[in-house]
Amino acid sequence: MCLGIPGRIMAITDPERQMAMAEVSGVRREVNVACVAGSDLSALVGQWALIHVGFAMSIIDEEEAEKTLQALRDLGEAQETLDQIAASQEALQ
């Protein structure tokens, strides 16, 4: 919950709600980009961000994303987050 996970912003899905599709370790998940949005939302597409509980909180570069992901894998936190994303999808049903 406290550590963010890097994800790549793939597309803006709902400009009004400031939502985007992100890819986190191969898993797609909609995230809110309000905290990293400038005036042009489309500029975010292709960028890496640290994602906390469904919110992109900081833009990072690709190398930082890779290093962070590796550290999260070592800690077991990467898989935990992916499991939580999957479980949350089920909880919506």
Partner: protein, 378 residues
Amino acid sequence: MKFASEFRDPAAARALLSAVAAKAEAIGASRANPVRIMEICGGHTHSIFRYGLDKLIHEGVEFIHGPGCPVCVLPMARVDECVEIAERPGVIFTTFGDAMRVPGHRKSLMQAKADGADIRMVYSPLDALELARRNPDRQVVFFGLGFETTTPSTALSIQQAAREGVTNFSVFCNHITVPEPIRALLDDPDMLLDGFIGPGHVSMVIGIRPYDFIARDYGKPIVVAGFEPTDLLQSALMLLTQIAEGRAQVENQYARVVPEHGNPVSLAAIADVYERRPSFEWRGLGEIDASGLRIRARYAAFDAEEKFGIGYGAASRNHPETPGCACGQVMTGKLRPTGCPQFGTGCTPDKPLGALMVSSEGACAAYWQYAGARVAAQ
């Protein structure tokens, strides 16, 4: 410790370890008279144990594990209040999975779910909001938990619910803040800390200036750090350097993610939705002034405390903590987890007695997971 395979950059880690050792020697730190560094964030605690940094670092440097795991400091009475809301008819209670196993006086959320309450683990408050949209005839409550890293997420979700008029969505707010407990620790006359490793992702939101009082008023250095092992070693080196030079400053080792003044959008959302409570209870630490947030009156429609008449302190606070549990002393660095009489006997990750055993960020669970063999050998 398989040094070369555990560290992606073993050469950098080795160089940092010897630089730390040289500084520690220079200031005369020893096992008997160590420099005590508190890492505030539970993510740092987890990382220190995962990489065995506490054993690799010079014996004159001791890591003290701070109160920075929001699950671990959650008071039992608050868990009781969650269970009370979750057991109301028509409620869907949503929470981060981490909170499910925290013991309450009567039961944990896990037990309440097994007993039939509709409790769902979600990854994000956005999913709780989506549940509310899909179930207009139910009351969907999100258990807002965590430090400044997660606070913006509930604030932005409440703002979104307000814009859309999703009135069956509310947040049971238990957000807490990092700087205030540090002040409480520093005011403790028994406190023996020489410096702090500041939390990375919390600081990404609030910036580094909220820590100024630590250096200015208490004369202690603090270095905000990332959670990779080399980040932690480098921040330990920066702290020792400050101590050696007689400085006490706020430094930022994690500037690649942490801006000096934080994230403006997050801070604006927090300020719009939340205000400080006069005080908030921390498990093991007691009531700490201005350390918790509540939802402002203008968002009362999204405040579960208002909606269900369960304000802070509604559950009886006369229950003592579990007898024999030393969580409070462990959390203030006065006792190591292994010094607790319950450690490994009455309290294990499978059957946690205290909250420090519940989450992988809790000091006791980290000790158990990574230091079990070391401890058994002692």
